[in-house]
């Protein structure tokens, strides 16, 4: 029996000033990455509430990635430093609850790093695809 290939759904939160621009640059340079990646624009990575991450998983996302300016380069001075702490805590907790740690990621992508954005997304999609469907976090009601 042939299994249908599972295409993972990835939600990417990108900060407006660096990573979203990096994603645009990947587009300008026609750098391919899977269409499973859907970007949500936020002003700063520090706008990403852990609730958004959980909500995405709950509604069927297979992976969530947060992209922000490199530490020290935050448009809002210190926003990404808070993101770094919050997400370190959240990811560690999800792992503690037995959720595969490969499903969450944080990456610093500058507006000049179109190639890094595409490479990151390719790698992330591949990693998440290997894990298969996100069963542990999904809210069955929403199927």
């Amino acid at each position: 029996m042939q299994m249908k290939e599972h295409k993972p759904l990835i939600v990417a939160f990108c900060c407006n000033w660096c990573s979203y621009a990096g994603a645009d640059l990947a587009g300008n340079n026609r750098l391919n990455y899977p269409a499973e990646v859907k970007v949500i624009r936020v002003p700063c990575s520090c706008r990403v509430n852990p609730m958004f991450v959980l909500r995405a998983f709950q509604r069927g996302a297979d992976g969530v990635i947060i992209c922000g300016c490199h530490p020290g380069d935050c448009h809002y001075v210190s926003g990404n430093y808070y993101t770094r702490r919050r997400m370190a805590m959240l990811f560690s907790m999800l792992d503690y609850l037995g959720i595969e740690k490969e499903r969450t990621r944080i990456e610093w992508v500058s507006a000049a790093e179109g190639a890094k954005f595409a490479a990151t997304m390719n790698d992330f999609v591949e990693t998440v695809a290997k894990l298969g469907e996100n069963k542990r976090l999904e809210d069955l009601r929403c199927k």
């Binding site: 759904l9 939600v11 407006n16 979203y20 621009a21 994603a23 645009d24 640059l25 990947a26 587009g27 300008n28 026609r30 750098l31 391919n32 990455y33 269409a35 859907k38 970007v39 949500i40 624009r41 936020v42 002003p43 700063c44 520090c46 706008r47 990403v48 509430n49 852990p50 609730m51 958004f52 909500r55 995405a56 509604r59 069927g60 996302a61 448009h75 809002y76 001075v77 210190s78 926003g79 808070y82 919050r86 595409a118 929403c142």
Partner: protein
């Protein structure tokens, strides 16, 4: 539910090549709230925009979604279009189906599928959009410059010349700062006083500038455009408006043994004093710690000799309150203490001096009237050793000195060495250096001249120990190129002490809610693109309070800060970004976490009385956001556990609606 129109752009073949735009428009028709959906070749063209306007009018649209290129390209365009059609510009959302879809995916089916999802997310978001209006606040057209050195002077002059009133607050009795203490300036060797004092006079005479000398800022409230500042004018016991600066009191004052700060304690002044001849304002000041009359009521000579009647022993500290639209920090620097570097024997010998002391020793108005004489015995030194990087470039783990390069030492040491050889060719001059750093116009040429034309001995290596012995200073050093240890009997050792921000900077930063780095330098809003602005709106940075710099750099930064201030004061009203945080007072519990993560100090707390449904009242502490200061990052929204803090334009429900739409 909104009435939403969807506009899918082809962008020629840029989008339409990989995305079936018609299918996208068709699919989005069925989304909740969508009453109109269409596609067009170039939505950003005039024709495209007209089409949007017509649809807004024709279908009574309340919000629109444009599926097109990145919002970073045309969000502003379509907001304007919406506004021209009579709906709020913030009722527009863009689905980025070009940079993040058609350009990165190859086949039509995939591209179309993703474009539809992105469109759905935008529709879901716009359903929750609310009209936003940028806040406005008035601007007080007056600037405050804190610090009256060359940085503060230049900033004040530039602002004043543009027609805005400026106040300078300076803690010392006179403006002029460190530059007034310098002898010559590199790399042109013009005398510091000759170029600085005319500027000081210009400041004094400028109709738009007020100088509060011998004064400190004691309180700052408010925000960009509307600062309320309290300035403490310390009692100088001399009526500033009456004193003519004739100096009769200085001459007759019997207390003559007070270490003279201006000459770094290398000579004495009287209890009533004028720091230096060209002081601005040129008025006397009585040192309350030295004056007999003030200490025990005995003396009073200065009052007797003052024909103008300017002496007033009863003067008290005075507080004045003033409003400002912008504040410039120009608090400057000081050389660090040499206490932790006594291997160089600074505390053991008067003939081991810092470079700033050397400036005074060679200055015509200094303690030796410009003759280079040893502080210990007044003799001419024949061998001088300059030591670079004393306390600069130290590892933090040594707990001595500073990690950064102080930037100015290489050049002023070259200057000192050159001037010494020029005036006293019989003097042997050694400069011990780790690296010679001369990035600046005509800087390296200057240093090379010191070596090649003036015969200064530059030795790569460091001094390890200075031992006073008899009248000599035994200098033990390494010459790394020759791989030798050198022993030099010197007459004078000059230490290029690291510089650090003035001690007043830290409390000032606290008052301004401006951020500082670990070295107490003010942090700029962006290290490359906003170097003269503090992250705190309305606060600007001038000179060495932001980082070590030389005079040319200080002056350019001072001018840059002034132009930023002028740009701000030229506005009658400040229009903010409406996408800022807002606190729901009914939900806020006053825990004050949000204020801690705000980089801009935009959040304040107040006790507020609430009427409860049962008609009782309750006083609670709640947060409020100052719309003029908030930059809209959203850090506070995540810190707030109750969700009382939300961000306009990126509300929690909006983002969650996008998540839901994508994950559906």
């Amino acid at each position: 539910m909104q009435r939403i129109g969807v506009f899918v752009c082809w962008c020629g073949s840029n989008i339409a090549g990989t995305v079936d735009v018609k299918a996208v428009a068709e699919a989005l028709k069925n989304e909740p709230g969508v009453v109109f959906s269409t596609n067009y070749q170039y939505m950003c063209s005039q024709a495209g925009q007209d089409m949007i306007k017509a649809a807004i009018a024709g279908h009574k649209l309340g919000g629109i979604v444009v599926c097109s290129c990145s919002p970073r390209m045309h969000e502003a365009t379509f907001r304007k279009t919406a506004s021209q059609a009579g709906i709020n510009p913030y009722m527009v959302e863009i689905a980025n189906i070009r940079e993040q879809c058609s350009w990165v995916h190859k086949d039509m089916a995939t591209g179309t599928e993703k474009a539809i999802i992105l469109g759905k997310a935008a529709v879901a978001k716009v359903n929750l959009n609310t009209p936003l209006t940028p806040g406005e606040s008035p601007v007080t057209k007056r600037a405050l410059v804190i610090g009256g050195g060359i940085a503060g002077i230049q900033t004040a002059l530039d602002i004043a010349d543009a027609g805005f009133p400026v106040d300078i607050v300076e803690t010392k009795p006179t403006i002029g700062g460190k530059m007034a203490q310098l002898d010559k300036t590199f790399p042109t060797l013009d005398c510091a006083a000759c170029i600085l004092t005319p500027k000081m006079v210009e400041v004094a005479q400028h109709e738009n500038i007020r100088i509060f000398s011998y004064s400190e800022v004691s309180e700052i409230k408010g925000f960009v455009g509307n600062f309320d500042v309290t300035i403490k004018r310390k009692a100088r016991y001399v009526k500033e408006d009456i004193c003519t600066g004739c100096g009769a009191c200085v001459e007759k004052c019997p207390m003559k043994k007070i270490p003279n700060e201006f000459n770094l304690g290398m000579d004495n002044r009287s209890a009533v004093y004028i720091p230096f001849a060209q002081a601005v304002p040129k008025v006397a000041t009585i040192d309350p710690n030295a004056c007999n009359m003030l200490k025990n009521g005995r003396c009073g000579i200065c009052a007797k000799v003052c024909t103008a009647g300017a002496i007033d022993y009863t003067q008290k500290d005075e507080y004045i309150e003033e409003k400002y639209g912008a504040i410039v920090a120009a608090t400057g620097f000081n050389p660090i203490s040499m206490d932790k570097f006594d291997e160089f024997a600074y505390s053991q010998s008067k003939d081991v001096i810092t470079s700033l002391e050397f400036e005074r020793l060679t200055n015509a108005a200094g303690p030796t009237a410009g003759k280079l004489l040893r502080p210990s015995d007044g003799k001419h030194p024949h061998t001088i050793v300059f030591v670079q990087c004393v306390g600069s470039r130290c590892s933090a783990c040594t707990e001595k000195g500073k990690e950064y390069c102080s930037k100015i030492c290489c050049m002023y040491t070259a200057k000192h060495a050159m001037l010494t050889r020029d005036k006293y060719p019989d003097t042997e001059v050694y400069v011990f250096y780790i690296d010679v750093r001369t990035p600046g116009k005509n800087f390296d040429e200057f240093y090379r001249r010191a070596v090649e034309e003036y015969g200064v001995n530059y030795i790569k290596g460091m001094v390890g120990k200075v031992t006073p012995e008899g009248s000599k200073l035994k200098v033990q050093a390494s010459d790394l190129i020759a791989n030798k240890q050198l022993h030099i009997d010197a007459d004078l050792v000059v230490l290029a002490a690291a510089i650090e921000p003035d001690k007043s900077a830290r409390p000032l930063a606290t008052m301004l809610t401006a951020s500082m780095d670990t070295n107490d330098f003010f942090t700029e809003a962006h290290p490359k693109l906003r170097p003269v602005e503090s992250p705190t709106a309305g606060v600007f940075l001038s000179g060495t309070c932001q980082g070590p710099k030389d005079i040319p750099e200080t002056v350019s930064q001072a001018g840059a800060a002034a132009s930023k201030v002028i740009g701000l004061l030229a506005k009658d009203k400040l229009t903010g970004n409406p996408c800022i945080a807002k606190s729901d007072e009914w939900m806020c519990n006053g825990c004050s976490s949000c204020g801690k993560v705000c980089a801009y100090g935009a959040i304040t707390y107040e006790e507020k009385e609430f009427r409860l449904p049962d008609r009782t009242t309750k006083i609670r502490r709640v947060a409020s956001v100052n719309p003029a200061v908030c930059q809209g990052c959203g850090a506070c929204t995540v810190t707030c556990p109750s969700g009382a803090m939300d961000l306009n334009g990126f509300t929690t429900t909006q983002i969650m609606a996008e998540v839901d739409a994508i994950c559906k």
